[in-house]
């Protein structure tokens, strides 16, 4: 009973926080911007979040997270619009929506598809929020007993999973993580104060700023890469009217079960590190096709094929916050940026966050709900506006991105040198891009690096230098075993891949 009673108190505290005027304002701004960048081809939520990071310096912590989160889940709503109308996913997790959403649009049912995906997104998000509300306090109680060994094991598993599952080349992904951890160690050593890898540059004593790394790798490198690649879409905006959005009785009947199953997949995979919306939506699509009595309809405009994945990816967006806010372990790169924003405000992420900053935790959680309600309003009556935005060509957009990069970086320390640093990081990022070295795992490693070192050293101190401590304690033992299984798989696949490719080369 105390669990429920406490929950109700917390929820009302959260509601009060989320309904404050400034939180409402930043929530609205976040979801609006999120939908905008989700719809626009060429600018994703990562670019937008990187651009907003310096702005969060000038905001209170709760407002900052409310806004960043709004951009994140808002972009998933917007992403499905681009998937349906252009056959181009606005964000990676809406890629599956293209498969049946675009055929629906070609059959003149774009309105129905847009309406129903918005409903699916809202439903998925609501389930995700409820899962988060119910499970977060339990996880926190559990996590309070974690020692440094458990934390270290969890971070290792999270990083290995995030870099090896979602990326094309697992070994390279893990390499980028390790590189990120090393870059994260630049600056003064936490225990002894010894400067490391600073090469006498005093600006590096506090470490490489997250803002510079994120903006360089996601802002500048992305612009250079996309300038002559991204093509705008052409959509007949007149064909999408409110009347055309009304689904048939058959559509509704077919949608109910995919919605529920999708929300389940999304809630589960969202909370696991390394998986998230992309995998959840793919899983949901595969399952819907499997259980369907008429699998041949899939790929030709089956409404089940958009409802399941859209419910799944939005549920995953919400539950991805569970490990981030309860344990301080980000499961993907967006969550790493959130964690970075919290750290900028001097808030230590981890299980103590919920007890030390209840207004922030529950306020952010309740703001998800408000944000999703706002998105429902933004995406149904205002859909005509977003359809027009789809057609904005990239050459009008990238100078604006560069302007935000320049001013944003400069405004953090009023330092012109920082702009140059970002430019150099952007150049490095572009080079890595050409070699297909993904920046996302690097950022994850970068954010977690210092925490990992701290916990590793503490674990060694407590265990008197016995490496087996990571395997003897039950929780960390399970986590480390999982990590080893993953690593073995990575090594196996990196050799196997070469065999497969060689066969393909021979055949060709």
């Amino acid at each position: 009973m105390t669990y429920l009673g406490g929950l109700i108190d917390n929820l009302s505290l959260g509601m009060n926080t989320a309904l404050s005027l400034s939180n409402l304002y930043y929530c609205f701004f976040g979801v609006l911007l999120g939908t905008f960048v989700g719809v626009l081809p060429g600018i994703g939520s990562l670019v937008a979040l990187s651009l907003l990071l310096p702005i969060t310096f000038h905001l209170p912590a709760t407002e900052a997270i409310v806004m960043l989160a709004g951009v994140y889940y808002g972009s998933t709503y917007g992403g499905s619009t681009a998937s349906i109308l252009l056959n181009l996913p606005g964000t990676p997790s809406t890629a599956v929506t293209c498969l049946d959403g675009y055929p629906m649009a070609k059959q003149g049912r774009a309105g129905v598809a847009l309406f129903m995906t918005t409903i699916a997104s809202f439903f998925g998000a609501t389930v995700g929020i409820m899962v988060m509300t119910l499970f977060s306090p339990l996880i926190v109680t559990f996590a309070l007993s974690f020692g440094p060994a458990e934390y270290f094991a969890m971070m290792v598993l999270g990083l290995v999973a995030a870099s090896s599952i979602a990326t094309g080349s697992p070994a390279k992904g893990i390499g980028m993580v390790v590189l990120g951890v090393i870059v994260g160690l630049i600056g003064s050593d936490l225990e002894t104060g010894q400067p490391r890898f600073t090469f006498g540059v005093p600006e590096l004593f506090d470490g490489v700023p997250l803002v510079a790394v994120a903006m360089g790798l996601f802002g500048v490198a992305e612009v250079i890469y996309s300038v002559r690649v991204v093509k705008p879409g052409h959509v007949d905006s007149k064909s999408i009217t409110l009347r055309s959005m009304i689904p048939t009785r058959d559509d509704v009947r077919r949608s109910v079960m995919p919605l529920i199953r999708g929300a389940g997949f999304g809630s589960f995979f969202g909370a696991l590190p390394g998986t998230g919306g992309v995998i959840a939506s793919f899983m949901s699509y595969a399952v819907e096709k499997k259980v369907s009595k008429e699998p041949e309809r899939f790929g030709k405009g089956a409404i089940e094929g958009i409802m399941g994945p859209e419910s799944a990816n939005n549920a995953a967006d919400q539950t991805a916050f569970i490990p981030t806010l309860t344990l301080g372990i980000p499961g993907n790169v967006v969550m790493a940026l959130m964690l970075g924003a919290l750290t900028i405000h001097g808030i230590v992420p981890g299980p103590q966050l919920m007890t030390k900053e209840p207004a922030l935790f529950w306020g952010v959680l309740m703001s998800f709900w408000i944000g999703n309600l706002l998105l429902l309003i933004l995406n149904i009556p205002l859909i005509g506006l977003w359809v027009r935005i789809l057609a904005i060509p990239y050459h009008w957009l990238y100078p604006a991105v560069l302007m935000f990069v320049a001013i944003g970086v400069y405004s953090v320390n009023n330092s012109p040198v920082d702009v140059i640093i970002v430019m150099v990081l952007g150049a490095i990022g572009y080079g890595m891009r050409l070699l297909d070295m993904q920046p996302a795992p690097l950022i994850l490693g970068f954010v977690l690096g210092p925490l990992m070192e701290e916990n590793f050293r503490r674990a060694m101190l407590i265990a008197r230098g016995d490496f087996l401590v990571f395997f003897q304690r039950p929780i960390s033992g399970v986590l480390m075993t999982l990590t080893f299984v993953l690593v073995a798989y990575v090594i196996y696949s990196s050799f196997n891949q070469s065999r497969v490719r060689r066969k393909a080369a021979k055949a060709a």
């Binding site: 500048v220 560069l402 001013i407 012109p416």
Partner: protein, 157 residues
Amino acid sequence: MLARDYQDIIAGAIFALIGASVAIWSWANYPLGSITHMGPGAFPAGLGVLLMFIGVLVMLPAFFRAGPSIPMPDFRAFVFVALALTLFSFTIRWLGLVPAIILVVMTSVLADSKLGIIGSTILAVGLSIAGWLIFSVALGIPLQAFGQVWQTWMFWQ
């Protein structure tokens, strides 16, 4: 066997090189400490060795398979984007926010020839007003719309 995955060979070599340098540098310059009381050098040295191994793991199989060719770098996009940011860095103090934004926009549009002179001008004016409104007015960040040069000039008038 000419077919090789050059992308992964170079990427692996970069990993191995960085890993080796980090390991050697931290071993040579920072105290390693003991295993119970790890010094500042221990963790990075370990990571360096790990990265070196990963580099080899990425690189070795790549010698024995065909891979995608490395895309040609887009030098024009790179040069103008870099130039735009450099110009901003050098002018934000003495010219101020509005001229610096105009320079960023007018330079970066050259990365891609799709936007003509009229379009660029409209974008530059629009973005400089938007930038000033967002950062100076709405967020209250102390940025001068027009910098020191203009104030000195006004003073002498």
